[in-house]
């Protein structure tokens, strides 16, 4: 049966952004996947996941989310201006 890529993308996105879930997955991948009610096809696909790559990707995404500069909203600029 063809894998549901959307389901896989969603679970990967959760691993990339939810550190506690990621850590549980690293420790007990199958238990975590079954608890999250993933389909058998997605569970099978993730059995041989590139775990080293996943760990580096999570670290990299976390760092980028922390340090990405976002443009200030109008109210943020107003608040900053009012401080002076």
């Amino acid at each position: 049966m063809a894998i549901n890529s959307g389901e896989l993308e969603l679970f990967l996105a959760r691993l990339y952004t939810d550190l506690p879930l990621f850590e549980e997955f690293v420790q007990q991948p199958e238990i975590t996947m079954r608890r999250e009610h993933l389909s058998e096809e997605v569970i099978a696909a993730l059995q041989d996941i590139d775990m080293q790559g996943l760990k580096l990707a999570v670290k990299s995404y976390h760092h980028k989310r922390m340090y990405t500069r976002r443009p200030l909203t109008f109210w943020q600029r107003v608040t900053r201006a009012l401080r002076f």
């Binding site: 993308e9 990967l12 790559g53 989310r65």
Partner: protein, 289 residues
């Protein structure tokens, strides 16, 4: 300063960054083309948009999106496409570009580019998203291959097969990021030149060059190359550019991307010259063969 060889007028330029904007403006005669991160202007003031539109009348400008998430099973966000369409209309760039990546799933924002599984399902979904974006923005984006530290699971296609199918089925121009290609190849023990030849080279219109660094795997057993955009373009990537120029008869726009750790601007200009020399060498090899 464009590279001219056998009727091919390649152009070499830089990613526009606020930290080096003043120096870029002072040295526009040495820079053929500029690439602006579109997302930084979606909520910009009218004055900032007008400045950008003015810049696009002084030099060839392209808009480079980073948050559209075209390579996803999920339909592309129409609101994002509309923002890009509005900015394209205001700035009138020569073209716009985006990545073959997904950036969100459900209501989760990853915050950066991620590689989806490379299979027929994501090929079909990506092509649909590209055509949706084209219908809203009014033109096809140049599509960029991304670097990925993780080999995407459930991938029945190789990276080259997946990229080629998407480019050919959508008809979109290909923006080949040579450092991304180089990093991906090195990280799986492949020859980057062999990988380059497996890509749809006849569709390449734009090229990205950047640098990176080797990082230790978390358990310390090995290393992977991280495309961090804060290091100089390595020699091997210039060699890939020469190879590309040798086998691509069409004009190429080459952009050097640098996001931080900026060297003295003279060094940035030197990197542009290295790119021009690499292109020239490739064109001469084509003429000689």
């Amino acid at each position: 300063m464009a590279v001219v060889a056998a009727n091919v007028k390649d152009r070499v330029g830089l990613g526009w960054r606020p930290e080096i904007s003043a120096q870029i403006l002072q040295h526009l005669d040495h820079i053929d083309v500029l690439e602006v991160i579109a997302d930084n202007y979606f909520s910009a003031s009218k004055k900032d948009i007008q400045s950008l539109a003015f810049l696009s009348r002084q030099a060839p400008v392209s808009l480079h999106g980073v948050g559209m998430g075209l390579a996803s099973s999920q339909p592309v966000e129409l609101r994002y496409c509309e923002r890009m369409a509005r900015l394209v209309n205001q700035v009138r760039p020569e073209f716009w570009s985006e990545h073959l990546a997904y950036v969100r799933a459900g209501d989760i924002e990853i915050g950066h580019l991620a590689a989806p599984p490379r299979n027929e399902q994501t090929v079909a979904a990506t092509v649909r998203n590209i055509l949706t974006a084209r219908n809203i923005v009014g033109s096809l984006p140049h599509l960029e291959n991304i670097a990925t530290l993780i080999q995407p699971p459930a991938s029945a296609l190789t990276e080259s097969e997946w990229v080629t199918e998407i480019i050919e089925k959508s008809g979109a121009p290909f923006l080949v990021d040579l450092h991304n290609l180089y990093a991906n190849a090195k990280n799986v023990g492949q020859d980057p030149f062999k990988l380059l030849h497996q890509l749809p080279l006849k569709h390449v219109k734009t090229v990205h060059l950047s640098g990176g660094c080797w990082i230790n795997e978390v358990d310390g057993q090995g290393e992977r190359l991280l495309d961090d955009h804060i290091h100089d373009v390595p020699e091997e990537v210039f060699a890939l550019l020469t190879c590309l120029a040798q086998f691509c008869p069409q004009t190429l726009d080459v952009i050097i991307e640098r996001d931080g750790n900026f060297p003295a601007f003279g060094e940035m200009l030197h990197q542009l010259d290295l790119a021009r020399r690499a292109l020239q060498k490739g064109r001469e090899l084509t003429c000689a063969s």
